[in-house]
Subunit: 672 residues, 3 copies
């Protein structure tokens, strides 16, 4: 892959009239050099059981090739044809809400052998047919795969077998999950009740982990089939998505991205985000960092929004800002979902680059400028190497466990805490990688922040202690260390093993009402000094107290502490603080970790992201995430602003118009 890819999802099958030539003409005009096809239309390609019709695939491949547009072919397995469900209703997943019914996509049992049989056949037919076509550069297996809560008797049986393998005896299982409670004890494997009704969070979370494993297995199985056909210069990818909150928000509860990505050649991602006045770049950055971290290299944005919804239609210049923001996080591709707005069915109002009238529109016209710049600057911007010194540790297990044991009030869940920390680093222009419990490279980082690591093994906590001891800088929030990997609460003083590194302990916790931090220790003002949702009554053992609670009854307890531990330092935040306080605590940690540099002189909405390009030169993206003009003094060695293609000297004042971008390549090559 030698160029930046600028693409769209393309559905010839959905077109209301013959449009292929006109579409390609308009794509070329916009610099589109990639389309993704075929991932949603199984019923078109196999209209009846064993009858195949790939005409729309063939003609699109031929036409794209002729036009010099590359193609990613998707396996169409995430939406099943009507005939299959009519013949074999049990391909639909049985979920806690009962048996499935036909209509929506992603409703099948991904472990059902009938479904797997037909899936394998269509994959082999399709991929076998297209793999030799010169337009095809790679494959997407399935689409935003999840387990769809499949939990019928067959899944339950596999789960019981998995538990047998894991625990050996029911006694071990009962003990580890505390099943004596409320007479839930299982005294023979044959007595194992369906997990669907369980009130035992340990068991429920184990089942969730098992279900995530089904996704990993399913994607690996698809990839292994496609690999049989894949040519040497082709790749297999998949478009992961995220926990959703008015857009891609945080950790995906139903998939272990790290495990699932192992079967892929290149990690891909779908990123959707608020827009208009709510555009901040945070989701682009968080999701991009996540995806780059999956395989430690450049990634594809396989789907992102063009116009999408009425409240997301971009303001002028926002589409450009977004496109370059993806590149700045390490993406080698920006692909819109989708080319044209669909005229029927569920996503009629999830608009594409073209509106329903299929003619030019202001958003399409802005895309034309992006396509031009991508083509011109491809060799400068592709394969950006990122090297971050800070990381955030996220965990599927912690997320699930905090779904079982929710924070009071229903306003803050795991991903809120993840983003509370991540977003502050983003605002401070601290580049960040994403770690997971299985990561073996903690020592690569000068700072690790750890949101609400509620469920964690002793091994993981020890490893984190060791990281601090060896000189690492670590910042935990409340709830970390509380329970083991089976969500069994630890029986030691809290916060369990990490209490050692943090130099605190507690045995009581409170839902704060009218509680603030005593004396506004971070100088954030009364409006930002409150503690909400959760507070632990910390007693320092060896830690220094950064903040005490201000409350008539709980004033003797610490809220935020810092502790020297070995050669490192551990901060513990025992409560949910405001964004402002979190920012101050992380700023302190960054400075302590030696991460405070020239980029930190700027702050959101002025965002800077950097990396090294193929030529060994530093590329710095400057983004203005606001509706007002912003300027800054460029502090680095002389270089070239690539969009305007003009030289820039150190100290020069650079002005960014609203929602503006500048990209500066430093002249000097990095040694090495």
């Amino acid at each position: 892959m030698q160029q930046l890819l600028y693409g769209v999802a393309y559905y010839d099958e959905y077109m209301p009239y013959e449009r292929l030539d006109e579409d390609i003409r308009m794509m070329k005009a916009a610099g589109i050099n990639l389309v993704r096809i075929a991932e949603s239309t199984w019923s078109t390609h196999e209209p009846q059981n064993g009858v195949f019709d790939f005409r729309s695939v063939d003609r699109v491949l031929d036409a794209m090739h002729k036009a010099g547009i590359s193609v990613i072919v998707g396996t169409p397995t995430y939406a099943v044809p009507t005939w299959m469900v009519k013949e074999h209703p049990d391909v639909l997943a049985e979920t806690p809400n009962g048996p499935g019914r036909y209509g929506a996509r992603q409703i099948m049992d991904i472990t059902n052998p009938t479904y797997l049989f037909y899936s394998e056949r269509i994959i082999r037919k399709l991929i076998g047919r297209v793999c030799g076509h010169p337009a095809v550069i790679g494959y997407q297996v399935d689409n935003e795969t999840k387990h769809y809560h499949t939990s019928g008797p067959n899944v339950q049986l596999r789960f019981v077998k998995a538990m047998k393998n894991k625990f050996g005896t029911v006694e071990r299982l009962n003990e580890e999950f505390g099943l004596d409670y409320w007479s839930n004890r299982i005294n023979g494997w044959e007595d194992f009740p369906s997990v669907v009704g369980t009130i035992n969070g340990s068991l429920g979370a184990e089942f969730a982990r098992f279900q995530r494993g089904l996704v990993t297995e399913f994607l690996a199985w698809q990839a292994s089939i496609v690999n049989e056909y894949k040519h040497a210069d082709q790749f297999v990818t998949h478009n992961f998505d995220f926990g959703w909150r008015d857009g891609s928000f945080g950790v995906q509860p139903d998939v272990d991205h790290f495990a699932a990505a192992e079967a892929l050649d290149i990690a891909g991602v779908d990123i959707y985000h608020p827009s208009q006045d709510l555009l901040t770049g945070k989701e682009i950055s968080y999701c991009g960092d996540s995806t780059r971290s999956l395989k430690g290299s450049n990634y594809f944005v396989l789907e992102t929004q063009a116009q999408a919804f009425p409240h997301w239609t971009p303001y002028p210049r926002q589409l450009r800002l977004q496109a370059f923001s993806h590149l700045a996080s390490g993406a080698n591709m920006v692909e819109y979902w989708h080319w044209h707005s669909i005229h029927n069915s569920a996503e009629t109002y999830w608009k594409g680059l073209l509106s329903h009238d299929l003619g030019p529109n202001p958003t399409y016209e802005e895309a034309m400028t992006i396509g031009r710049d991508f083509a011109r600057l491809s060799s400068k911007l592709i394969h950006l190497k990122k090297s971050n010194r800070a990381a955030i540790l996220v965990s599927n297990e912690a997320l699930t466990s905090l779904e079982w044991f929710r924070l009071p009030g229903g306003k803050a869940a795991y991903n809120d805490i993840v983003r509370l920390m991540y977003d502050r680093l983003y605002e401070m222009n601290i580049g960040c990688d994403i770690l997971h419990p299985g990561s073996q490279n903690f020592e690569d980082y000068d700072l690790i922040v750890v949101p609400a690591l509620y469920a964690a093994s002793d091994e993981l906590l020890s490893r984190l202690n060791r990281y601090a001891e060896n000189g690492g800088r670590i910042v935990y929030t409340f709830k970390s260390g509380f329970a083991n990997e089976h969500i069994k609460v630890r029986t030691d003083a809290q916060p369990g093993l990490i209490g050692e590194a943090c130099g605190v302990r507690y045995s009581q916790f409170i839902e704060p009402k009218s509680v603030s931090l005593k004396g506004d220790p971070f100088g954030v003002g009364a409006d930002n000094n409150d503690v909400t949702v959760w507070m632990e009554l910390l007693t320092p053992t060896t830690a220094e107290v950064l903040a005490w609670y201000d409350h008539p009854h709980w004033g003797q307890y610490a809220a935020i502490t810092e502790n020297r531990y070995g050669k490192g330092t551990a901060t513990y935040i025992g409560c949910l603080p405001s964004e402002a306080v979190m920012g101050k605590v992380l700023e302190r940690a960054c400075k302590d970790a030696g991460l405070w540099g020239l980029d930190q002189e700027l702050a959101f909405p002025l965002i800077v992201k950097s990396g090294t390009n193929q030529e060994g030169r530093t590329i710095r993206y400057y983004f203005n995430y606001s509706a007002g003009t912003k300027s800054f003094a460029y502090p680095y060695g002389k270089g070239t602003e690539l969009l305007a293609d003009r030289p820039v000297s150190q100290g020069e004042l650079i002005e960014l118009e609203r929602w503006g971008v500048a990209i500066i390549e430093e002249d000097t090559k990095i040694k090495g």
Copy 2:
């Protein structure tokens, strides 16, 4: 029918003790000259399969006849007996929520042959028995019939056959409904999945249309049976009801009133509405106009509230105001649901004219004055001929389509937009008829207003263009013309065909945040100048712009436009404006259409409604819909105020006490 009917629903079967003579005595005292009976008590009349007991019917008919009170007999088919469900559980409708369960009314599958067999038998038994009775003046078939979401396998099968008839081939079906999307394609009729789970709005809306057809068919079938027995001077009617929003609010989603009314002799209606400080007369007017338009003639109010709920118990004089308001819209009957308050079960707190103590009460005492006036003025007020020059075009299809593709925020649905337009006309004293897509008499009107006509055929839009071209005045809101009759979005520039008459086009739309109309073009003040929920980014082609958006990014787009087209004019409102702005836009259109006259000098809460009585004289009702005294100068030729029976001269100041009524008959006969 030679007199105004003042009636009550009467349930001898529900009476807690023997009351018939006393009830009739109290009815006579109140001027009640009509009762409706028998429509709810199948289980009493057929206590066991094939065992009949019409004693309560017989005795009530005899007693009413003796007292000179007319009777409408209802067919009791909307609530099935326990024995039937015990013998044949499948008479209960299977709905998207699963199989039915016994208890509530209106839970059966109106296509089930067992149900139809028993229904036909009870109808023939009952109507055959009573049709010769001198008290009986007519029949009500069933009660507020709807399809009750019946969607079991038998209904699905009929629907598939209907689709086969309509489209001929699956290919046509797939194309028209866009079923390639998400692999929903149906490649054989036998593969057709249950529509219950569909996510395809085109298919879903088609099924809703099919279900409305079941209602039309069912009512026609009942009417055809009753017609076999009906005497020449008897009628068949039915009580339609409306989309509900704290009362009868707008278009009934589950019934095509126009189609269903064809089988009836006289259209009937149930009208319930807010009361006390919220009484405005709007629902009485809207629902009355709707029902009068069904057959273009006078109608029956078969049910309306007497006391009803705690929050609806009328203030003194409101019951009178309501009764005459019904007449002013063209009703020949005002019937309360119901005579007495029920002592058990679901509607215990839906009170009748009598409270539970079955004695006189303030509401009953006010009814006595109404009964007196109805009797005295019957020949003056009956058979009022209405002749309106404005109309509003409503559409079941548009309503359904906007349920599938909802406006953002959940605050505005189709009926809100209908009422936003209708209520403004009402407040301006512009009399209004109700049109539907099948109406062939657009040219009868000087002004047609068209709320959110989202789903409409090319034929309908062309007809509307022609209406404007030929000199009509038309006002559209946003979303009109967007999709065809199968909710397929049009592929031309929006708003589709009507863009021609309106002289605008757009390809993007937004959910407005902090958007207003630039420069307050209608002078409504800042509080009323905001745009909410929806805004289309209009570009005028030939139209004059009445209002631009005020927004930093969308300021170059038009919000409201007006366009000369042929001999007529079309206004297009591209956003959801305030009531005040809608009022101003419609005022402008009314003036332009020559509808601004003497009645428009008055405005809500002073409401005037008029028509021509049997003698060819103009009757004008003046209503004070407020808690304060209101007065106005009577602007027409001399006449008689009928309630006080006193002469009125032109220019005379008339005072209406709070919630007051005056009825003036002009002395001069209308020519012709």
Copy 3:
């Protein structure tokens, strides 16, 4: 039982590691002299069908005995083992939401013979084994038993038979429940439809009463089995719970406490309540009074909170305040649920006296002081005799009926009105007993308050009239007397029979909007003078009007009246008033009834409760339910403050620190 019991629920089965000796050591240190065991762990004690394992029971009994700690053994029947459900899925209750699924507790059909067979066997095995053990002082049958909405075909069949027994013929049934309505008539017992879908409140409420009867029957059956084993010095108890609203709030809808308590030797109760700034003692008082009234004697608090939830963790001194408050209402036991915080499953965050770290914590340390004082003062404080002159009449039937016919707005249900009255008496330090419709001792009281007695038989209302006639003081709220015991609305003028004693009548009622009491007759200020939710338009017949409505249309009607009737007086409150107005009305009634004494000089947050101890001396508890210091002049004869063990003289100023307690024993013995 010769000493106050200070206890904890103890689950050896849930312990994460061997703790028994350490737990006992810590219990002894805290003065714990009672544990309850075995009531939740059937699956541990019977790991397979017919295989028993009571090791954890045996070892705990032995260890407790050795330590001098008494034990209550619970029957483990409220949570069924996995093997039972796997073998016999139909032991799970079929409810209106469908068939049951395994997981939670309290999910079985308590009438299922399979379940009853296994229950009886485990009860006989367990109780037969432990009954001779010297540590065992009594038994708890089941746990917070309810009917779990069991309503499958078998329950339905029993219900139909019960209706046959009660009504004899379907005609009587139809008439009494008004089943002609909506064709619900049942013309043969075999036609009786499942009650699950009924919309008939009379039928629905009858079924609810029947379901409560199942609970009574079940508990009596369990008690009868345990009684076969019980030794002479042992007791059988049960832990009743309450309607829940952020804690124990009011009448339990699913159990007739009075009927169910008949099978018990000693009444027991679970009381949970808001804490921290929301701690008021009201729930402790209301639930305590309720439980004491069940058998007219001292009772057990079998469960109450130690730490419980984050928002309930007690402030320093609150645990003490709570413990002595229980004693002041007549409890002989205060037992915490539970000793240790559980490390897995549903109640992980319902913390015990120990936190998860199983070490001392501030709450445990406060418990140590309570244990010390309980032990020291046991002979002074045990068996407190209470003698109240006021009572509140509550009714399961009234509660159920107001669930079927809810007050508008959804903000006030039956228990709100109960507590609106009860809490005002509490705040005025008026001691209160709880009466029920079956109580035969109305004449024991000088004042009876009657909240919303919506469903009541003629017999009950006559008895209340007679009470007033004979000199009693009675205060009714709105809705009282409206319907009979089958929720059939009375056909006389309202409020039915009690209209005679109250000297009022009405036939209309309103949902008030902007209505207040004319002229602020109780001097509560504008903020407290509004009427909300419900107002009846009262016309006094013989009553004096205490308050009129202030409203333009309803101003001629009375809101609150008072009537001399025979030798007594009846107040009728026709609307939902503020707490302040309710307080004033009840204050007036208390004064009139001669209940205003020295204790009424104090008021909430200064609470005083009294009774007579075993030695015949008056014990007075003084509680400061506030975060500020409070003082008062002690007005009674000289005595001893028991906690500090110091003399107190009449008139002496006593100071209570925040959340403080004083207990004064008067020196003089009461004669008799």
